[in-house]
Symmetry: C2
Subunit: 196 residues, 2 copies
DNA sequence: TTGCACATACCAACTAGTATGTATACCTTT
DNA sequence: AAAGGTATACATACTAGTTGGTATGTGCAA
């Protein structure tokens, strides 16, 4: 077991605990007991609880969310199909647990944005990225005649992200995978409106 | 100062504190210090912290959210106009603080649904209500030829709520009232699609 | 004189964080 | 290659400050 492994194991479990309990509900003691390590190990890698949360955002959440949206820059194909494909995949792959625990990004956004400016800014980077890359893809679509020329690309991209997060949230209270599927479907219908 | 007043003063401040800090971040000590009362008063009215949270949902959040949607049952006028009017009002009246602190309902949904089944069920009642009354209004619209006959009213109502919550969430991280306005506008455009 | 509406004082359990010890790998010097 | 020093990667034990909750007392109105 080398150092990198331990750090990543810690981060992984912290992510899971935050996903379920929120950052304020995160209990470092619970996680380290679960991992079979001690406080010495934890505080060797992270100076504080806040640092753990920020590391989870930067090293786990941000990469996993932005991977797809960044890939839009080089992706070939109709931007609306690409975006719809991604949403469809989210919908298809969502497990009951994914729905019950909600979107990790959205959870942290709702909880931490008003409480900690460092958190908010890190989360904003992710959200901005998702919207930005989607909007750029749509803009290229406009330029290529694939997307209606009067489309407000940023507004559509932003609403797509909002609809997605909202779909997670509603499904979470209702504890209903079907609700998620239905709402994503409505979002897909919405996106279709902008095809040229 | 009679008893009812004290109870409601407590509940009101608890709501504010929860709105900002979340339920897990709620500190009873902070609130009672703020109100100038003591633990004796607090625990005279509420047996536990959970009871406070549930009372806030049942007595403050639920009535304030469902008031409009219940009113749809007797409301005259085009259902799409009624729904759009409500969203437009939310958009117009939203203060920077409303956006920064987010939607109280959505905040609690994200935080508490996986943690406490009592909370989830109380919150689900509110969310179900919003969707249910909206869907019924749309169905009456279908019957009266105001709404397209092939409309999946529940799906549209559900997505409207999701879009609304999503709009709050995105605006919250971005700390942008404009983002909220834009996303609500997109939601209004979406609703317009179903006018007969 | 009984019950309601609080106030006061207190506590047990937790929780992030620290101070300190130690085994081991690695690197340098002789 | 052996010796010796040093940084890394943890483990152990402890603490200070919270935090929800309780036990008990008290003024007052009906």
């Amino acid at each position: 077991m080398n150092a990198t492994d331990t750090r990543e194991r810690i981060l992984g479990r912290m992510f899971q605990d935050i996903h379920k309990n929120g950052f304020q509900g995160l209990r470092a003691d619970r996680v380290i007991a679960d991992l079979g390590i001690t406080k010495g190990a934890l505080y060797h890698y992270f100076p504080s609880k806040d640092a753990i949360g920020l590391a989870v955002i930067a090293e786990i959440i941000e990469p996993s969310y932005l991977a797809f949206f960044r890939s839009l820059e080089q992706a070939k194909g109709h931007p609306i199909d690409l975006l719809k494909g991604h949403l469809q995949e989210l919908s298809d792959k969502a497990s009951p647990d994914d729905i019950y625990l909600g979107c990790p990004l959205n959870n942290l956004v709702q909880e931490m944005s008003p409480l900690n400016e460092d958190f908010r800014q890190r989360l904003k980077v992710v959200m901005d990225g998702m919207i930005h890359y989607s909007a750029r893809a749509l803009e290229r679509g406009v330029a290529q005649g694939q997307v209606k020329s009067d489309t407000d690309c940023t507004a559509v991209a932003s609403f797509m992200v909002a609809g997605m997060e909202g779909a997670y949230g509603v499904a979470k209270v209702l504890k209903s995978l079907n609700s998620f599927h239905r709402n994503i479907q409505q979002l897909l219908n919405y996106l279709e409106l902008f095809r040229a």
